[in-house]
Symmetry: C2
Subunit: 326 residues, 2 copies
Amino acid sequence: MTSPVTRPEFNPPGFEDVLAARERIANHVHRTPVMTCATIDGMAGASLFFKCENLQKVGAFKARGAANAIFGLDEDEAARGVLTHSSGNHGQALAWAAGRRGIPATVVVPSSAPAPKKAAMRGYGARIVECEPTSAAREATAASLAEETGATFVHPYNDARVIAGQGTCVLELLEQVPGLDAVIAPVGGGGLVSGCCITLRAQSPETLLYAAEPTGADDAYRSLAAGRVLPQEDPRTIADGLRTGLGDLTWHFVSRDVEAVLLATDAEIVSAMRLVWERMKLVVEPSAAVPLAALLSDPGRFEGKRVGLIFTGGNVDLERLPFTPG
Amino acid sequence: MTSPVTRPEFNPPGFEDVLAARERIANHVHRTPVMTCATIDGMAGASLFFKCENLQKVGAFKARGAANAIFGLDEDEAARGVLTHSSGNHGQALAWAAGRRGIPATVVVPSSAPAPKKAAMRGYGARIVECEPTSAAREATAASLAEETGATFVHPYNDARVIAGQGTCVLELLEQVPGLDAVIAPVGGGGLVSGCCITLRAQSPETLLYAAEPTGADDAYRSLAAGRVLPQEDPRTIADGLRTGLGDLTWHFVSRDVEAVLLATDAEIVSAMRLVWERMKLVVEPSAAVPLAALLSDPGRFEGKRVGLIFTGGNVDLERLPFTPG
């Protein structure tokens, strides 16, 4: 028997799936604004266009993929509910989307997950099941819950429905800002970058796609160099949304269409994050600042270009901010 | 001889001055977006529309009044430069606008002003002159500088050009959101509220105008109750932009058109500010959160209404935020 939490087949989505996703989620997610900042443009020597998914429902682009998965279920599947494992924005997004459709959602979280994140998921109506903070415990717990409930498992990124949903983000960006020379998206598991690959290839093949990653969680960088998926080992970065590794589905896209993986240190990430808070007055989480951090650490590459950067989310703990003096 | 830092005559601006200001500053300031938040609407039991002047140039609506004053100077006046006293957003705004026109600006700041604020004004090209932190020292220093330089004094709020400039904010809001039942603006010196009075009276007289004030700096509340301007004595509030008192010009408008002054405690202000950061992902300064804080402390008054609230600014010291636990 196939594990219910493993995709049974390799099914990379196409641009028609992105278009269907856009239709499906239109009444549920925001068409987020694109913002610019003259000061940061001056520092970068380029024209930067920030797609503000921190202003998205649940504070992150993850609402797109989750809504696409939830609202694409048929009635029977929907009645049995959905299941995922995530201590981050995907868990909240799936809980939110399930609540909107009025179906049950179960989220497996490591016992080490911060209480506010669990509270937020419960606030959307999800059932939280805690497990030991290991991937073996997580998989086992999810598999047993899937068997128990018959719920549909929705992986945070290695899932065709999720990837297609994330592809709607850059689709909007292309409409909002014509003539982009490049797009830079953070890469963790690769769901957003995969969605960008599909949409850019179909709609704007001349736009180069870059993935941006913390130096302390550089599996995509190393994988691209090696030509095969290398695991994310012992990630150490403040960018908590980017500690996951690529999956086979996201690797398919990343290895095919990503021009380069750009790196940023945690110090550069915090500095870029602070710049955005101070000059743009936007709350972005560390992961969301990684593309800007990477660009500012290597500005020559983008000099004079029109570059789209995705502010992926704005979910931070205001009581633990990295802006301490010194 | 009339003191150069006192207006020689009482000259309240009219709506034609607001329209002229809009024309004059159009190429210099942002038409800021209006944002909404379903969660906060739910808490308020009303439809709230937030005019995001925290996203304005220099991070505050003050850019409007300053730009109107600066770009309204004739060539001779401009050549002699401008002068003000302010340790806050007006000082930055005047420095910025003067820099844009390429004319000298001098800002008198109390020696107690935070170093980053002085650095920001210098960054825009202004000359900073420090004085003892008393109003007598401030007036004397400004008067002597005015005599020395022949610069035009631009008061932070008790100035017809500044008031007319601030009136453009709610003019945009009315275009962006038709059918507002009420507008709530923070009141410190009253420049923004005065501009709102002029524009609402001319364009939407059925929209009620409320001023919102910290309980620890409640001179406008007490003045309206007394029927005459009472001084701001020993203000104690986290809302540093609202520690000033009304002037004769702003009292003219506040006493004429403000429906009521609403109050909020510092605890309510911090709580509202946190709500905006967490749910709207916008950096707003304490003063900017006062209207929402006041509304949420007395929601019955606005139940079911369409209410415009002005997020006046987003300039905060990220190293000293009030979101400490407990």
